[in-house]
């Protein structure tokens, strides 16, 4: 599973080495890492609805890895911006974060994933307690939404891909609203240490 998730990254590295990333490799790197960040965010958000709809509680085992890969690709995406666009200078970056709203929301989306990555272990779930951990990890909803807005605000005229991601994020978030409203609490499978069942 880890290897499968790492394939896009491996392909980028191979492409870089073989000069096979097209005429604007920096742009290819930025777009590909950005796409995969959103892909993994969508996959992560899909876990709980799929578990409930298909009655497969074991899918939970994948959620941490999917989430961490979302953070990984998000961080790589950030590096492909900080390096090629800003010469690794943070001063230029802060300027962009303040002035360019699509960068503001993108930066925020990444920053929100940091505490999630840091508290992704079973040990952290125990330390925070299930309820607090769950509440904190709801930040992933914000990351996903901000990520879609970041994409939408940067395209010039073709909004199909941002809307495509937006559609899936909205579907999986709406499912949660529907699930909470209609099914109510007390329907979830019992929690095991290291696993959070309800979402």
């Amino acid at each position: 599973m880890f290897l499968v998730c790492a394939i896009p990254f491996a392909r980028l590295c191979i492409g870089l080495v073989r000069s096979d990333l097209g005429s604007n490799p920096v742009e290819t790197l930025q777009h590909t890492t950005g796409d995969w960040t959103l892909n993994f965010l969508v996959f992560t958000l899909a876990v709980t609805p799929l578990r409930k709809i298909f009655k497969l509680p074991d899918l939970i085992r994948f959620r941490r890895m999917l989430g961490l890969f979302a953070f990984f690709y998000g961080f790589m995406h950030f590096l492909t911006y900080l390096g090629p666009d800003q010469n690794f200078q943070f001063s230029g970056m802060w300027d962009d974060v303040a002035k360019r709203k699509f960068i503001t929301v993108g930066f925020l989306a990444l920053v929100l994933m940091v505490p999630l990555a840091a508290t992704s272990t079973a040990g952290m779930i125990r330390r925070l307690g299930g309820k607090r951990w769950q509440a904190l990890h709801r930040l992933v909803y914000a990351s996903a939404i901000l990520g879609v807005i970041h994409y939408y605000w940067l395209v010039k005229s073709d909004v199909r891909k941002p809307l495509f991601y937006g559609f899936w994020v909205v579907i999986f978030l709406l499912w949660r609203v529907w699930d909470a409203y209609f099914r109510g609490k007390g329907n979830s499978a019992p929690a095991r240490p290291g696993v959070s069942a309800a979402d």
Partner: protein, 319 residues
């Protein structure tokens, strides 16, 4: 290029319910399906070579004026990294989708506020003035730039053949548009046919090129065959491609990107590091082939040649 195909398989090509009874297989398949739904097309395109042949023919030309010494961008990049939205919005789309674009026979109509409007065939256009090679910098509003050896002659050479009325203050341009040959156009968010325009002094400036070729040969389809203009001190979208109409007119012509977003794309669109795009900075640019950004130059480095046309003009207001 290889990694930039859009994903049109949906993530929820949901597996039928009876599969879930076989959980291990389902989990494995879901993992594979999930990844391939988004990456499958790209993996497939890894296997197919992306060499695109483009039909061009050699042109006779002399060395022209205004040439830059900077390193020219490799022809493969200029022919496979294109914004020509009629053929799709990915940079690699035009090379793929414009292969069967019919550029012959071709007519350019010159009309409007002139005494004798007429139409030109490509042969007539090519014979109108000596062809020159002009090596220009080309700067996209998206912040990437290239250096291209274009072939053509100053637009003024053809404009001077006409007697404009006193009303003629601007030149309007129109591109070819055809729903059948350009099926991708409807998804791009722009209105077609693509239109552009220049003020008369800009159109008559010797730097403005009526362009028929590049790298020694006629233009490949994806670069705006068979005839386009190149206005190197402005953002690339002003250098309208595949021209069918040139019109002398009284009022400022509508321009396609300005119609989409007037606060982002103005009529003048002069390259200016001091005037940012509302959503991103224009102070630096990414020259294809380099990793780190360069400083953007005023009027794309053609300041000495063109700045006088804009004396006293508020370049932020008239962006």
């Amino acid at each position: 290029m290889l990694l930039k195909r859009k994903a049109d398989l949906t993530h929820a090509d949901v597996t039928p319910k009876d599969v879930y009874t076989n959980r291990r297989k389902f989990l494995r398949d879901m993992g594979i399906a999930g990844v391939t739904a988004f990456a499958g097309e790209r993996i497939l395109s890894l296997a197919t070579p992306s060499l695109t042949a483009y039909a061009t023919s050699k042109l006779n030309f002399v060395k022209g004026q205004f040439n830059t010494d900077e390193k020219q961008t490799p022809i493969n990049d200029v022919t496979h990294y294109n914004n020509f939205y009629e053929f799709g919005t990915d940079k690699s789309d035009p090379a793929k989708n414009a292969q069967n674009f019919r550029t012959s026979p071709w007519t350019v109509s010159v009309e409007g506020e002139i005494k004798s409007p007429r139409k030109f065939s490509m042969d007539e256009l090519l014979a109108l003035a000596p062809l020159e090679e002009r090596i220009y910098r080309h700067r996209c509003v998206e912040r990437w730039s290239i250096v291209v050896p274009w072939i053509g002659y100053s637009l003024s050479a053809i404009l001077k053949k006409f007697e404009p009325t006193p009303k003629a203050k601007y030149i309007a341009f129109q591109s070819y548009y055809d729903r059948d040959q350009m099926p991708q156009a409807k998804y791009t968010g722009l209105d077609y046919p693509y239109v552009e325009g220049l003020r008369m002094d800009e159109a008559m400036h010797p730097l403005t090129l009526l362009c028929f070729g590049m790298y020694g040969e006629t233009l490949p389809n994806q670069d705006g065959a068979p005839v386009r203009i190149v206005v190197p001190w402005k953002y690339g979208y002003k250098s309208i491609k595949s021209i069918v109409k040139i019109k002398f007119q009284e009022h400022e012509p509508p321009t396609t990107w300005n119609l989409l977003a007037p606060n982002e794309y103005g009529f003048y669109s002069n390259v200016n590091p001091g005037v940012d795009h509302p959503r991103w900075s224009q102070s630096t640019e990414h020259r294809l082939g380099e990793i780190f950004p360069r400083k953007t130059l005023m009027f794309n480095g053609y300041n000495d040649l063109v700045a006088s046309m804009y004396n006293g003009m508020d370049l932020k207001k008239f962006h």
